[in-house]
Symmetry: C2
Subunit: 304 residues, 2 copies
């Protein structure tokens, strides 16, 4: 399969490398890593075994790639104003586009330009970051849940899941992408924002009873707002929160991506993870009060 990766940060580089290693023809849109990858290829370090791809197709412009079968989007959402312009040259034939970006609104943005029937979304559970140019560090996990923007379990989604599974990336096709996105927000909204705001990691938040209580309360707000969207099957608040808290308790000292973005002075993905979910919650009469305060405070940091 001919695949283009748009947004080759840690996530795009890792999944692209896994797909190329499995025999797919992968084309990467590169920026920071262009020179290093063109000269020396791409190295992945991983607890599952390091590997090196000596020949990697890197480009500075997606128009050089031409039509592909699949566009994989890993762009940070704060760069979404460039998303359509970057993806357009790749969508001339029967290509579909799978966005693995964070939060809400990304599939809809792509659907406006290319039609909902060509858009899939996926939620990536991946711990990775970029090392030296030409190197990506996979620290753990990597599982993907993907589905059609328009809902339902399509053959195409099953095929994409198989593509990832064949490449060593555990992947599941889901019938209700919207539910999967809100489920991910149940974790992302409290932990990304609270860690970015306070500079404390997930373990410190859970060890302090008052902030642990607020994490649980925020998760409750997100689940109520998600369930108000008309999911095929509502999220059960009590059991899902317990599952999320238990999972986080095993992530000793983990710093969510937004905390690292803040510490390193990068912009935050506020619109996709907070702004759009808050608007969807308000539209459905399930306002997220604590999340609104968190969003406002995170935005204050951005404005400076």
């Amino acid at each position: 399969m001919k695949i283009a990766v748009v947004g080759a940060g840690a996530l795009g580089l890792y999944y692209g490398a896994m797909l190329q290693r499995a025999g797919n023809e992968v084309h990467f849109l590169l920026r920071r890593d262009y020179d290093a990858i063109r000269q020396n290829g791409l190295t992945v370090t991983s607890p599952n075994g390091d590997f090196h791809l000596a020949e990697v197709k890197g480009y500075r412009d997606t128009s050089e790639i031409g039509p592909v079968d699949l566009v994989l989007v890993g762009l940070k959402t704060f760069a979404n104003h460039r998303l359509i312009e970057l993806v357009s040259p790749l969508m001339t034939c029967d290509a579909c586009v799978l966005t693995l970006q964070n939060g809400l609104g990304n599939e809809e943005l792509l659907a406006e330009a290319f039609g909902a029937e060509r858009v899939l979304g996926g939620i990536a559970f991946l711990c990775s970051n970029r090392g030296e140019p030409g190197t990506v560090h996979h620290m753990g996990q990597g599982r993907i849940r993907l589905g059609e923007l328009s809902g339902g379990l399509s053959q195409r989604a099953e095929n994409l899941a198989a593509l990832f599974n064949d490449a060593g990336v555990p992947c599941e096709a889901v019938a209700d992408l919207r539910r999967a996105r809100w489920e991910k927000l149940v974790w992302n909204i409290p932990f990304n924002g609270l860690c970015a705001l306070t500079g404390k990691n997930v373990t410190e938040l859970l060890d302090h009873p008052a902030t642990r209580g607020e994490v649980v309360a925020i998760m409750g707000e997100v689940i109520a707002a998600g369930n108000a969207q008309g999911l095929t099957c509502p999220i059960d608040a009590e059991s899902f929160i317990e599952k999320m808290i238990s999972a986080t308790e095993t992530m000793d000292g983990y710093q969510p991506s937004m905390m690292i973005d803040r510490l390193e002075g990068r912009p935050l993905e506020l619109e996709a993870i907070y702004g759009i979910p808050l608007a969807r919650a308000d539209e459905r009469g399930a306002p997220m009060v604590r999340v609104g305060l968190l969003h406002a405070l995170l935005g204050l940091g951005e404005a400076s």
Copy 2:
């Protein structure tokens, strides 16, 4: 009048100095400033004119002071575990005690030990800080509103107000001390906490529309909780919030005391300004959701 000042930070030193300058016999419990004040007296710098008190009665222990007519408490509330022990030696005769401390719960603590009929509370609107040992800087304002813990407008409260007014400190006796305390919280709860948490001053909070909106929402929560306490006359949310915001807009770049405490690594007055008001709000069925989140996040910083 023989007056003892317990808790001689910027507030205690300033009001004590003003009272002594007006001819009262003032005794100061001192810690950091003991040597400097015993040797060189106390200097007040102020836009109203600097002055120096050459002879100042300073002590290391309140038992050296003996019985007084009035105990003025300016202790930071995070030191309240020592409050009764410090005040007790002064209360042997007919003394009454006036606490000018921040937040809620201080009068009740004193009342448990000395009886409600001996306790008054006051809200100080004072911009001041300590300079070199032996010097306090008065930057502006200084107005006090004081009243009986047990409510009503007493002759004693009127007399105390006259004492301050005669000393050049604008002072008003109020019939509903509890309302005055909640009114002050309407400003203190949003601005002290949000500024301490984010490191941004009041002007930065108001200039960013999202945080301005959250300040207003938090003020609304505090007013609703205050009104649920059964005030003699409820606080009108709309007009009071407008007044608080307008007043704050004139305080260009102002850093509330809790922000400075956080920046300088001192403990925060979380229990008096957040913990006790939150408990009172819950008791009366008017929970302050945003304030709870703010309190939890401020406490996280303290725990570290």
